[in-house]
C-alpha cells in the first residue's frame, strides 16, 4: 500500500541477503521452531489489525494462518511481527520473518533487485480518487484545477502527477507526512480530492461522520497487485507459500468452503478429491502431508470466505470483489489446477 522509497539500508541488504539466503531449509527451520514468523502491517483494518479480542485478524493475517494450517494443522502456529514499510524487506532477507504478508505491491524492481520472490496477488488494488458528493464530480476527468491531498514519499503522489499530465489537466498537491493528517485535511476541506489505493479509500470513507457524503470515483489510475513475499533461493518454501495461496482460490472455484469441507471429502468430483487429498497425494511432493489443503480449508476457509470476512461488502470496509473475483466471475483471480 505505502510504497515509500526503498532506503539505502535496504539496498545494502541486497548483497548480504542474497548470500545469506543460499542456506537452504526454511521449511525445516520453521518445523523445528514450531511456528511461522509472519511480517504484517499491523493497524490496517481488514488487512491486519487487532480485533475486539486483541487477536490478529485480516486478509494478510489469514494468509499466514492458512500457511500455518498447511504445515502444522494449526492455524495458530504463527507469530506476527508488525513491520514498517522501511524495514519489511530487510526483516525478510535477514530471516527475522519467514514470510512477508504485508500488502506489498508487486513491482519489477522489487522482484528482481531485492532478493525476494512474490508469491502471488492476494489482492488487486489500484489508486483511486475520493471527492465530496456535494461537489458533483462524476469522473476523474472533471478534476482539472483541483487541490489534491496526498501522503509524502509514496508512489501515490507520482501516480497522480502522471494521471493529470497524461490527461492535460492542472492540479495542486497538498502534501502531508502522515496518512491521518491527509484524511483530516480532506475532511476539513483543505483539499477537494483525496487519493490513495482504493481499498484504503474505502476504509477511510467508512470512518467519516457521514460516509455517504463522499464518493469514490470509478477511475483506477494505477496497478497495485498486493501479495505475500518470501526470500529468494528456497524453492521448497516458495512452492508451499504459492500453493497455499492457490489452494484458497482453487477451493473457492470448486465450491469447497470451511462449512462444507467435511461433506466435500465424500464428493465425486475428481478435482475436489485431488485438492482434499482423497485421491492422489499432492502434499508430500510439497513437503507437507496429504491433507494439507483440507487443513487450510477446515481451519481458515477459502479465498471468498476470508475476503468476505475481512474486507467484503458486509464489513465496514465494504469492498466489492471487483478484480479480485475469480476468473469465471469476471475477476482475474486464477489458480492453476491441482493435478
Amino acid at each position: 500500500m505505502q510504497k515509500t522509497l526503498v532506503t539505502i539500508a535496504v539496498a545494502a541488504s541486497l548483497g548480504l541477503g542474497a548470500t545469506a539466503s543460499a542456506q537452504a531449509g526454511i521449511l525445516e527451520d520453521v518445523v523445528a521452531k514450531g511456528y511461522i514468523q509472519c511480517g504484517v502491517t499491523g493497524g490496517v483494518a481488514g488487512f491486519s489489525a487487532p480485533d475486539s479480542n486483541n487477536v490478529w485478524t485480516g486478509l494478510e493475517v489469514d494468509y499466514c494462518r492458512a500457511l500455518a494450517a498447511a504445515i502444522f494443522n494449526d492455524a495458530d502456529a504463527v507469530r506476527f511481527t508488525s513491520l514498517t514499510s522501511q524495514e519489511r524487506f530487510t526483516a525478510l532477507s535477514a530471516g527475522e520473518v519467514d514470510v512477508l504478508s504485508r500488502t506489498t505491491t508487486w513491482t519489477m524492481s522489487r522482484d528482481t533487485q531485492l532478493g525476494i520472490n512474490f508469491v502471488g496477488t492476494m489482492f488487486y488494488d489500484g489508486q483511486g480518487f475520493m471527492v465530496r458528493k456535494a461537489d458533483g464530480i462524476a469522473s476523474g476527468l472533471d478534476l482539472s484545477g483541483a487541490a489534491i491531498c496526498v501522503e509524502a514519499g509514496t508512489t501515490t503522489e507520482l501516480n497522480a502527477a502522471d494521471y493529470f499530465a497524461t490527461n492535460g489537466m492542472e492540479f495542486n498537491t497538498v502534501v502531508f507526512v502522515d496518512q491521518d493528517e491527509v484524511v483530516k485535511a480532506y475532511e476539513d476541506g483543505r483539499c477537494d480530492v483525496y487519493t490513495t489505493d482504493s481499498s484504503a479509500l474505502a476504509a477511510e470513507r467508512s470512518k467519516f461522520a457521514v460516509p455517504d457524503d463522499h464518493v469514490i470515483l470509478p477511475e483506477i489510475i494505477s496497478k497495485e497487485p498486493l501479495g505475500p513475499v518470501v526470500r529468494q533461493g528456497d524453492d521448497i518454501w516458495f512452492n508451499i507459500a504459492r500453493w497455499t495461496y492457490f489452494a484458497l482460490l482453487e477451493a473457492e472455484e470448486l465450491g469447497v468452503s470451511q462449512a462444507n469441507v467435511d461433506e466435500m471429502l465424500g464428493s465425486d468430483n475428481p478435482a475436489i478429491k485431488r485438492l482434499l487429498g482423497v485421491e492422489g497425494d499432492f502434499g508430500t511432493p510439497l513437503g507437507l502431508t496429504k491433507d494439507w489443503a483440507y487443513q487450510i480449508l477446515k481451519l481458515v476457509g477459502n479465498y471468498a470466505e476470508t475476503y468476505e470476512r475481512n474486507v467484503g461488502p458486509a464489513t465496514p470496509i465494504g469492498l466489492e470483489r471487483g478484480l479480485n473475483a475469480l476468473w469465471k466471475d469476471g475477476g482475474i483471480q486464477y489458480a492453476p489446477p491441482v493435478r
Binding site: 493497524g43 486483541n54 470496509i317
Partner: protein
Amino acid sequence: MTDTGYVRSELVAAKPAPNPTSGAVVWAKKNLFATPMDALLTAFGVLFLLWVVPPFFNFVLGHAVGPMGTVEECRAITAGACWAYVYNEMEFFIYGFYDIPQLWRPNIVFALGALLFVPLLIPKLPFKRINALLFLFVYPVVAYFLLAGGVFGLSEMPTEKWGGLLVTLIISVVGITLAFPLGIVLALGRQSTLPVIKTICVTFIELIRSVPLITILFMASIMLPLFMPQGMTVDKLLRALVGVTLFTSAYLAEVVRGGLQAIPRGQYEAAASLGLGYWQRMYFIILPQALKHVIPGIVNSFIALFKDTSLVYIVGMKDLLEAVKTKNDSALEWQSANTATTGYLFAAIVFWAFCFSMSRYSMFMERRLNTGHKR
C-alpha cells in the same frame, strides 16, 4: 479666651476607613489592573480563557460519552470525547496482543512492581536494603518468567504479543534502572586519569550523544540483523531496551559529570587523606554530594526517556501511543469524528500522569536532601 477648654464635648466625626491592604479586590488591583496596560492584558487573558476553556471542558466532560456509552452516541453530531471507546479498548492499550485469558500474569507483575517499588520511594519505611535487592534482582526474573511463560506450565507468550502500557513501562523502568548506574560509571570514567578508560568513555558518550535516538533504534532494527548469522535474531524488545538504555546512559553521564565538577577539589583531597580507596571515596564522599546537585537534570533525563519510549514504534513494537494509534486506525466499529482524538487524549493523560509524578517526586527529593547548598 475663657471658653477654651480641654474637655471634648462631642464625638470626633468618623473618618473613612483606611484603604485595605489585603483581600481579593486589592490583590486584583495590584496584580491585574495596576496600569492600563495590565488591565488590557487581563481582559485579553480572560477572553482567551473564555474562548478556550468552556469548549475544552465540554469536549472532555460536558458533552462526552461516558465509559458505558455506545458508538451511536459517540457518532452524534453534538458528542464530545468518546470515552466509551477508550474503556472498551483499554485491554489493548494496556497489554497489546497479550492473550486475554492470561491477563492475570501482567496484572501480577504490575501489582508486584508497585508493591516493591512504592516502599522504596517512601523514606520512612524500613528494610530499604532488602527491598532494593528484591526489586532490582529478584523482581525482574520473576516478572520475566511470568510475562514470557514457557516454564512452570505457563503458556509461552512471545514478546511480539506484549504491548501498550506494559511495554512502555518495561522499557522505561528497565531503561532507568540500567542507565543510571551505567551513566555514573561513564561519568567517572570520563574523569579518569587512565587514558584507555577515558578514551572509551568519551568515545561512547560523544558517539551516542551525536545521533538521535530514532537513528539508534533504526540501526538496531534494520542494520543489526544484517550483521548477524542467518536465522539468528535478537528479540525486538531487547533491541529497543539496549538502544534506549545506551542512549539515556550517555546523557546521564554528562549530567552526573556536571555534578562531579561542582564538588570542590578539597573534598576529593579530604577523602583521600582519610585513607579511603577510589571507590570508597566516590561512594561515601563524592557521589552523594554530586548527585544531589543534579537531581533536576537526572529526572529530566528520566522523563525524556519515558516519553522517548514511544519511538519504539520504529522497531515495530506497540507501546502505549502506538497501541492507541493502531486501534484508532483499525477499530472501525468505534469510528466516529472524535474517536481518534479521544484515544490520543487518553495517551496524553497517561503520559502526563507518569511524567508529572516523576517531576513532583524529584522536587520532594530535592527538599529532603537539601542541606543548605541551595541558593
